[in-house]
């Protein structure tokens, strides 16, 4: 499990990957709360067509300290990774938030979103597997390069 310093470096690595693809966004901040919780959330605009808006990747995570000390390791408590392909009018996302709710309702901690047409999903939430931010960037940028179907029909609706 990472330390606070490692999480700042990890956030920097994520930002660097996106900057090197030509994405634009303010330098992201790792927010530190009085409870010890760490959080970040930022939206990167990808280069290319900006009609009607640029394609975006949002990366957001919440990390909770394992111990109540400054030197604690952290565990990821929530995540939300979103790719909104405005030029192609579609969306793909990997989410792990509201864990108590999803555990109670569906016996899962994570879910996915998939919209072949932005704003008109065939299903509001799909079952999925946990992913990390690096896997999400790889998946989203591959979709950014490739046109065609997102493959929503292959996913299992909740």
């Amino acid at each position: 499990m990472p330390t606070q310093r490692q999480l700042r470096e990890r956030l920097e690595t994520l930002a660097t990957i996106l900057y090197r693809y030509g994405a634009t966004f303010p330098v992201p901040e790792l927010e530190r709360y009085a409870s010890g919780t760490l959080r970040f959330s930022f939206i990167a605009e990808l280069p290319g067509s900006d009609t009607p808006q640029p394609a975006t990747i949002r990366l957001a995570e919440i990390w909770e300290p394992v111990l109540a000390t400054d030197a604690s390791d952290y565990r990821r408590a929530e995540y939300a990774y979103d790719f909104v392909d405005h030029p192609r009018n579609r969306r793909r996302a990997f989410h792990g938030h509201d864990p108590d709710y999803f555990a109670h309702e569906f016996a899962v901690l994570v879910h996915e979103h998939c919209e072949e047409t932005l704003g008109s999903p065939d299903c509001s939430h799909y079952f999925g597997l946990p992913v990390d931010a690096f896997e999400a960037i790889d998946a989203f940028t591959a979709l950014w390069v490739l046109g065609g179907s997102l493959g929503c029909a292959d996913l299992r609706c909740m």
Binding site: R8, E12, T16, Y19, R32, Y33, P47, V145
Partner: protein, 93 residues
């Protein structure tokens, strides 16, 4: 004619007057950013190629900061309407 947004390793090889194998080595070494779209196919965003050519690819260092924040931790659901479990016909909650 509109410029291609994504370049193949062969496109980059032509631009740099090197072999495609050299471009693939740059990709595998992490020196040239590339997106892996399938097991053996890479595409290089034009913006990445232009930064690489100009020697201006961003490097880690001050690309993330820590900020102390007061108040509760905002959740990540972003106003998402949470789904309800579908109940079998005749069942009650």
């Amino acid at each position: 004619m509109q410029e291609k947004q994504f370049l193949s390793p062969a496109d980059v090889a032509r631009e740099l007057s090197v072999s495609t194998a050299t471009v693939l080595r740059l990709i595998h070494a992490g020196q040239l950013p590339a997106i892996r779209v399938s097991e053996r196919i890479y595409r290089i965003p034009r913006a990445s190629f232009e930064m690489f050519s100009a020697g201006t690819l961003p490097q880690p260092g001050d690309l993330a900061t820590i900020k102390d924040v007061a108040g509760p931790v905002p959740g990540l659901s972003a106003d998402e309407i949470l789904p309800r479990r579908k109940l079998a016909a005749g069942s009650r909650r």
